[in-house]
Symmetry: C2
Subunit: 509 residues, 2 copies
């Protein structure tokens, strides 16, 4: 029996399986070509191709036909009646490379390039990717491996070039409430005259990524050409990197990381720097929040990560500084896409809000002004404050919202948040000793964030603050009753806000 | 929007995706219930349930209907027109447990039980399982974790009890050609009067597992009751453990290990002992092949693994001895399901064959006779030889083949092997210095083994042997031209047989 390429007529099928790629092959074609269910095949159309999982049917399609879901048809740019080639995928080269990494070997540049190629074209799937990511937890990557990884991630995607020098800032995240910081940094920097075409990610393990939060106010998915047009007009953008096909392997990695709820440091560095390199960013500030429940808990760890960023950025020809910021409790008060969009908009509109939000955003903007030579060292924040408090940041933000297809006149109270809500109150007069990042994150996620935009948590208190009996500590927002009740029972179990004198547990229960 | 259980009418759909579980939900039901494509839902029917991935369609089914593939319908025992409940799976508990393992924590018995439960019911998928397996490479499992894992694997599956004491042998495998050893051990032990209801596995990373090889001669998939009936009649069986639903999580782990080409020691111990515990095996010989290119390369490593097996078996109340055998080159001459079935049958029929096959099989059988008290220490092999060379092993093997639905009169030459073949010959008179397990394994797999039964490699030489120019070193067999040519080019690259004086590579090429 010879397994060879075949030509098949396409039927685009109304069967949505998200971004998962599959193809339905007629049973007798499958037997003839020795293709089995759940194997992978390569689908070819001109110079486009992708790898998809095989489903087999006797009846859904006839012999000589294949059915493709819309996502695959779009990727290959085929329509009903077009013909495509189908070729068995006999073996993946990168499975062996990944296995060697799991066993502790170092990989060559060429081997890493093969892995990334096969991640992008779908030759290897979630299992292999999960293994590669998990292995990075133990062995990390050498500087050479990491550089090869970043370059391969960039090479396999689109690249955007600007005439002017482009600036950017990026937080490694991990602190609930952090996704909104960029909504203040970007318009402030752009209003100061620098080009800041920010691409951001969706949440991996946090309740909202900057792209999730911005999406409440405007579109975040653009083609590279559109992004360029917007950036040249407004000098600032806040878009989702994933839609631009910059370093497309990154979004596949992120999907698996999301599922595993892990985020290995080397992959994090690769993820951030690959997207920035693909955007030809010349100068970049990377924010590393440090504190209990953040991605990085100690200054020592943060410094090691900062060194990794700076070493790699310099290998790639990017000027980079890392800010190590306090991340031991939520940034601002709100957690979740819509709640955070409201909070950022409120701050821009009124100039009022939590210092953990406004102070941090203006420090980062100020540092960019210094790196760009617009301000001398130490005085960048003054320029940022002037822009922010004069309302220029808000005006610029409205421009950006409008350019990205949103309503620039939206007011914070116009933004819908989850209609199912529950408050948690202080049981006694006391002081707040601790607000637990991890607990807030889990509660917000169980409540539905980031996919349910209106879900999240509003935290009214900060560590050290005084509360009176009956004061609200937090409100949980959800878009469905069942998620609210799950999130509430989790909150009762995790006790995200600790008060002095509060008994944490009684034994035996 | 409330996400709650719903009742849906089932349509069984002709769409085969292997063992992957999916459900097709109508688009408006999905919107109403806030279920998204590629999310997982739990499908409920009476006391049966499973977790499946969601596909969404506007047209394939109507509102109020769901479509299920045959594998899911069979698992839930539902037919066209039956109704099932569908409930969103909001979160997996074991993802967090697995993440903690990845970060180096120890897991409790309860946490491990949760992981195994969610592996079996499909709440977690390949990515999470791959991460759990990869983490075992680094941290291993403590004795308590491993014991909990084995017990959880047994508890989540079927259990088979025999009135008589049951014996068994199992090789950890990893050496090409090893899968056929059991085809001699089992009939010899059964002919000696002991009950040996052997369950075996399919290949993970090798070119054939014992179940793959036996399947060439007889059925290997039976219901627990059938197996019991066969075992009581013949005293011996060689069946696939996976079909018995003993420790069903194991087959899911093996699928992912197969894809990743990894096999962590702790999971290997769990896999073997869980299946044996579920079969109530009282006395077990575990064979650990040691040598270059085997799973275990040094005696030190082999001894550590043997201690792990013995410690766990004793915790579980099984009497266990491990044999450390030579595994530095292939066992016998043939590699691949059909080729190995031929070789074992030939040895049973004629009493002739490679000592690496017959000697090993009879040693293991002899040890079982000693452990059972049928022979005194050191004399078990004599009993085994007597049985084997008198033809009783062959007679018993025919009984077993017949009881398992095969043709007992089959002759070695009746067994079809791949019709596409190529020989590799000695380029000069020389001596064989090395036969490379790993290379032989890879060549056989690229040639199509184990899924293509007739694919594999016949190796004519052993290390130390003399060859003359033009002598055959090996023959590659494949069922398709394209696989043969892939395997041949791999063989040229890997040079699986090293001859003295042979130049390995020339630089520059």
């Amino acid at each position: 029996m010879v397994r060879s390429d075949g030509e098949f007529k396409v039927k685009v099928l109304d069967l949505d399986f998200g971004s998962f790629r599959f193809i339905i092959i007629n049973a007798s074609d499958a037997v003839e070509r020795d293709i089995k269910a759940n194997e992978r095949v390569r689908i070819l159309k001109g110079d486009r191709s992708c790898t998809a999982h095989v489903m087999i049917s006797k009846t859904i399609i006839s012999k000589g036909e294949v059915a493709l879901p819309k996502n695959v048809a779009d990727e290959l740019k085929v329509r009903d009646g077009d013909s495509v080639g189908v070729r068995p995928v006999l073996s993946s080269k990168s499975t062996l490379h990944i296995k060697r990494k799991v066993l502790g070997d170092k990989l060559s540049q060429e081997e890493i390039r093969t892995i990334i190629k096969e991640v992008v074209d779908g030759t290897i799937g979630e299992a292999e990717i999960a293994s590669f990511l998990t292995a990075q937890y133990f062995y990390g990557l050498t500087h050479d491996e990491l550089e090869a990884l970043i370059k391969a991630m960039v090479e396999t995607g689109a690249v955007i070039e600007f005439e002017d020098k482009a600036y950017d800032e990026h937080s490694i995240g991990g602190v609930p409430g952090n996704s909104k910081v960029a909504l203040i940094v970007v318009p402030t920097v752009a209003a100061g005259g620098l080009l800041i075409p920010k691409t951001s990610s969706r949440a991996i393990v946090s309740p909202s990524g900057t792209a999730d939060t911005m999406e409440v106010l405007a579109n975040v998915e653009f083609e590279p050409e559109e992004l360029k047009r917007i950036a040249l007009k407004t000098k600032g953008t806040i878009v989702w990197g994933g839609a631009l096909r910059l370093a497309p392997s990154d979004d596949i990695f992120i999907r698996v990381e999301h599922r595993l709820m892990i985020d290995p440091p080397t992959q994090m560095v690769a993820s951030i720097l690959a997207k920035k390199l693909a955007m030809n960013i010349s100068t970049l500030i990377i924010d590393i929040p440090v504190g209990k429940g953040a991605k990085v808990e100690s200054m020592k760890e943060a410094e090691a990560l900062a060194r990794l960023f700076v070493e790699q950025a310099s290998r790639l020809g990017m000027r980079t500084k890392c800010t190590l910021s306090y991340g031991g409790q939520p940034i601002g008060h709100c957690v979740g896409p819509a709640l955070e969009a409201r909070e950022a908009l409120e701050a821009l509109l009124t100039g009022e809000g939590a210092m953990s939000l406004i102070g941090k955003a203006l420090s980062i903007a100020g540092l960019l002004f210094e790196e760009a030579g617009v301000a001398r060292r130490g005085s960048g924040i003054e320029i940022a404050k002037q822009i922010f408090y004069s309302g220029k940041s808000y005006d610029k933000f409205k421009e950006i919202i409008e350019a990205q297809g949103g309503n620039p006149h939206v007011k914070p109270e116009d933004i819908p948040v989850g209609e199912h809500r529950i408050d948690i109150e202080a049981p006694e007069d006391s002081y707040v000793t601790h607000v637990d990042n991890t607990a807030i994150t889990l509660i917000a996620r169980v409540a539905g964030a980031p996919l349910d935009k209106g879900a999240g948590v509003k935290v009214y208190v900060k560590a050290g603050g005084k509360v009176r009996k009956g004061d609200k500590l937090l409100t949980i927002y959800a878009e469905s009753k069942s998620k609210l009740s799950q999130a509430y029972s989790l909150a009762q179990q995790l006790q995200p806000v600790t008060l002095e004198g509060m008994i944490l547990k009684v034994y035996p229960e």
